[in-house]
Symmetry: C2
Subunit: 581 residues, 2 copies
């Protein structure tokens, strides 16, 4: 690729030159923009990069209330741009750049106008542009059919706001309708899915193909899940959490409201789409969906069905499927448009998103390094059962056991032998922590790191001297996900429950209970190891925030001042209790 980067200093004086007669239109080379365009076309370069001290081309003079950066500019859009004249660098300068860019485009050279002084993405503006990242304004001949991602964000915002003002029954109706469509339109869905599978054949490994594939039974159980979400949605938006009488006829209410616009990023599994759509509908949030490329056909039809269901109450646009050129990391930067990002997929995906999402909160967990501490007073009968369930039932889950901490007094006891025997039978590979290894004559391979999530039939065993040492170990090497104590000593158990600083802390129960469904939260949104907003297994509530409503008559604060006529009452008023099942 030939690339000509031009830094426009706005002060170079370039003598006029003859226009290139091969091209329609005339470009008189009177500044370095037109010179660059001319040069780029002459050299038949693929891309001309014009670096300036503004971000790119805006639809109104930058700094004005409505000014938005134009991501892709098409020659036909020229009339939609107003050029100001008062800017410091001169919008005339931008007009000249646009003229030069359009001329170059006509000559077969694509153009990007971007800021060279404060590179936005990685600090390397030219590399970013060449890698196709969303930087500055890209001049293109081809106008894609659909809306831009910014337009989709606005549609999701306003559609979501309409969704939020529906009655809970109406939102439930939409979800039920979507559940019906999943079974009614089964043939079309499976046909689209078949296309995806055919295209993926040979390119994806068998487990990934399995994740990608839909079936009648998958669709049926998906529909059942959606109906459960509909049921639990009744009590979500608009729930009163707190009521206070501030003064006579001045009442304050804190109510639950949707967060706003969610971005859900999911990998190959297309069954994620209806499920996430139902969660967004139940909680009244606008939704941007970004699915994996391998599921394009499946996602397209599932999204159409979601919109069909939404349209029964006129809120079709609340859910948008992003199909534009933006990569996931571009979307993660749209902090004015997106209020919360939820990655659904591998822990690698979550880690990548957490890294990319500067300024937007991400709900999820990238690691589940769960511990079980077997106390000196643990019951022989319980330990083996609990360890087996925690490690072997589904070792790939984030709530599976990774490190077993054993009190030193238990070494070389029948209980210890029983655990080891069970692990052998279950074919669990044992790694030894440094202290454990030092106690053994012949030890299993020593761990590389005590901070490992095996996600498989592997387990680290380490020895500790006390509950306190177990807690210290968990704080140092854990991921604050789920940690368990096994003991018959209630005092030790309560000490552990109070002191371990993790999202879930259990006594004599399997780590695997750490799950929204098992916790009885209804629809499961995910598990969060963040300490802000939602923590641990998250139900629909994790998709809600609150607002304060104050109803007065003509109340002003100056009446409550030191010498004013009124006094604050601040009486807590009763709130309706949460529905019990």
């Amino acid at each position: 690729m030939n690339i000509v980067p031009i830094v426009n200093t706005n002060d170079a004086v370039v003598p006029p030159a003859e226009p290139n007669s091969d091209l329609q239109g005339v470009i008189s080379v009177k500044d370095n923009d037109s010179l660059a365009a001319r040069l780029a076309v002459e050299m038949k370069t693929d891309l001309l990069i014009v670096l300036s001290d503004v971000e790119g081309l805006f639809d109104s003079p930058p700094g004005s209330d409505d000014a938005k950066l134009i991501d892709i500019f098409y020659p036909g859009d020229q009339q939609s741009v107003t050029f100001g004249t008062k800017s410091r660098v001169g919008m005339g300068g931008m007009e000249a750049k646009v003229k030069a860019a359009l001329w170059a485009l006509q000559g077969g050279t694509s153009v990007v106008i971007a800021n060279g002084t404060h590179p936005k993405v990685s600090g390397h503006v030219i590399t970013d542009i060449v890698e196709g990242k969303k930087v500055g304004t890209f001049f293109s001949e081809v106008k894609p059919a659909g809306p831009t991602v910014e337009q989709q964000g606005e549609m999701a915002r306003s559609g979501g706001r309409m969704l939020a003002t529906l009655e809970p029954e109406q939102r439930a109706e939409i979800i039920h309708h979507l559940a019906d469509l999943l079974t009614d339109q089964r043939d079309e869905i499976l046909l689209a899915n078949k296309k995806d599978l055919e295209e993926a054949e040979g390119r994806l490994a068998a487990p990934l193909l399995k994740r990608l594939s839909l079936s009648t039974s998958k669709l049926n159980s998906l529909a059942i899940g959606l109906r459960q979400i509909a049921a639990s949605s009744q009590d979500s938006v608009g729930r009163v959490l707190r009521r206070t009488r501030i003064a006579k006829n001045l009442e304050l209410e804190q109510v639950t409201v949707p967060i706003g616009v969610l971005l859900v990023i999911f990998e190959s599994r297309p069954d994620c789409l209806p499920q996430v759509a139902a969660l967004a509908i139940a909680s009244g949030n606008g939704l941007l969906l970004k699915g994996g490329k391998e599921a394009t056909h499946s996602n397209r039809i599932l999204h159409l069905l979601a919109q069909e269901a939404l349209s029964i109450h006129g809120v079709k646009e609340a859910i948008q499927l992003v199909n534009t050129r933006e990569e996931v990391e571009d979307l993660c930067r749209l902090d004015k448009m997106i209020d919360l990002i939820i990655p659904r997929g591998s822990s690698q995906l979550v880690r990548d998103i957490q890294k990319a999402a500067k300024g937007i909160p991400v709900m999820g967990h990238s690691e589940g390094i769960c511990h079980m501490y077997v106390d000196s007073e643990a019951s022989v009968d319980k330990v083996t059962r609990l360890v087996r369930d925690s490690k072997c039932e589904y070792p790939a889950a984030c709530n599976a056991l990774e490190t077993l901490l054993i009190h030193r007094d238990l070494l070389r006891t029948p209980l210890f032998d029983q655990i080891i025997d069970m692990l052998r039978v279950e074919q669990v590979k044992i790694h030894a922590g440094p202290k454990f290894a030092s106690y053994l004559t012949f030890s299993p391979s020593e761990v590389k790191s005590l901070r490992t999530e095996y996600g498989d039939l592997e387990l680290c065993i380490e020895v500790v001297d006390s509950v306190q040492e177990a807690i210290d170990h968990i704080h140092k090497y854990g991921s604050s996900h789920t940690d368990v104590i096994v003991t018959e000593n209630e005092k030790a158990a309560e000490f552990f429950l109070q002191h371990v600083d993790s999202a879930c802390v259990f006594w004599n129960a399997s780590t695997r209970f750490s799950d929204g469904y098992r916790f009885g939260l209804g629809a499961e949104v995910g598990i969060s190891t963040s300490r802000i907003h939602a923590r641990g297994p998250v139900g629909l509530e994790g998709l809600l925030t609150t607002k304060w409503l104050l109803r007065g008559q003509d109340h002003v604060v100056s009446d409550f001042s030191e010498h004013g006529s009124l006094k604050y009452l601040h009486e807590n008023l009763p709130v309706p209790q949460r529905n019990t099942n």
Copy 2:
């Protein structure tokens, strides 16, 4: 300043050279590190920058569980570093670099070893280092007396965890003791404050000096405020929010716990320190404090008093005052150490912190563009009162009115004239929105932006045609802080309350009620316009998160599988109601 940046490629072969005999010790130039050191000392440069492909010098081989980047390295610390040998780039290479760096340091040249391939801060590693930003490992002769900020973070974390496990009464006791100390040690505090004031004299403007200055009455009211915080702290940590019976003898509890470590950044006002300390103590959080340089003496003594109070229950280290070389933006990057940042100061400070704090949530509001919509059915008597209180009572507050939206039908009515007359009397400067201007023959100056926070006796007036248009205007130009409708029409009011997507939405009440104290939240932490975690006025609850405690007997999930012996009960159990005042 002379700077020699050296990019170490690890493959350059440099012939040995004679050591510089002026220096103690011998350096044999056998690689480009030693060559660079030699050259830098010969040229008497101030700083030698060695760029490598690792972040700098770690105290253990990078990648091992405990490896930490050494921020500042002192010659005396050499024994505390273990050099690995197996790393891809060769830790021998790092050993050589350290040797060269120490040699250069002895020769009077400071050294930074940093990563040149993935610059961490702004993307410009050399600029960052020259500007004194915290990048890589800095080699210095002088060892500062206090702990590093990383050590302070660890102390705050473990001290906070101890604080969290105290009884609520013990935390309240600490706060009461701090309140006592503020009055008992008044003379020492005022003496320290006098030093700050003397040093600031002539360098700070009068209003800033006023903010900096403490007085007996300020200390007294501070002590009263602290006792209020102590009172409201009783019901914060450890409150049960939810209880569920999952199965027989398997009970789940969701309880409030502290967030972890807070970083509070405050500007000149030293009275912030005891207040924030009390909030952290009440909520059981560890705390890092970063105050303004101009208040150094005052902050130091106030911090000592906070630690004195904490030590009555052995948790002195839970609150740390950061005095190291780190700038605010360096602290904002310590995402593994800090769970929440709270800026207390100007909206500019909040904006700067929000920008700098990548990856750590920030609680605060950078803008308060509050609206009042005067409906066509507004009561004449109420409007003037409400507008005056909202705009004129304290115009610098974030909850003061900035934009008055008036229904078109009210133009040229007595009500309209009454509002304008009142604003004239109160000397409020009026700016006209574009539609309002177009209705008038002689209009006030047209606004530059409808998105302006005046923070002064200035106000924008705009005309709207309906409640819906008022809502659209607020969504487009507002900051989701506080917005009010004035009307006698209950239906219009409820529509406005439900549809406006702001933290606080009021009916016939002044914008100025948007405040933690006025809302009856007890201790006020701040006002948040974030949509995640806490929203609107935030009390102590904003400093809390939750954890899940599960108490079982020997419960495993496989017993609950399809063919298992147990079924989930998921019974909601009653929770204690919130204390009423």
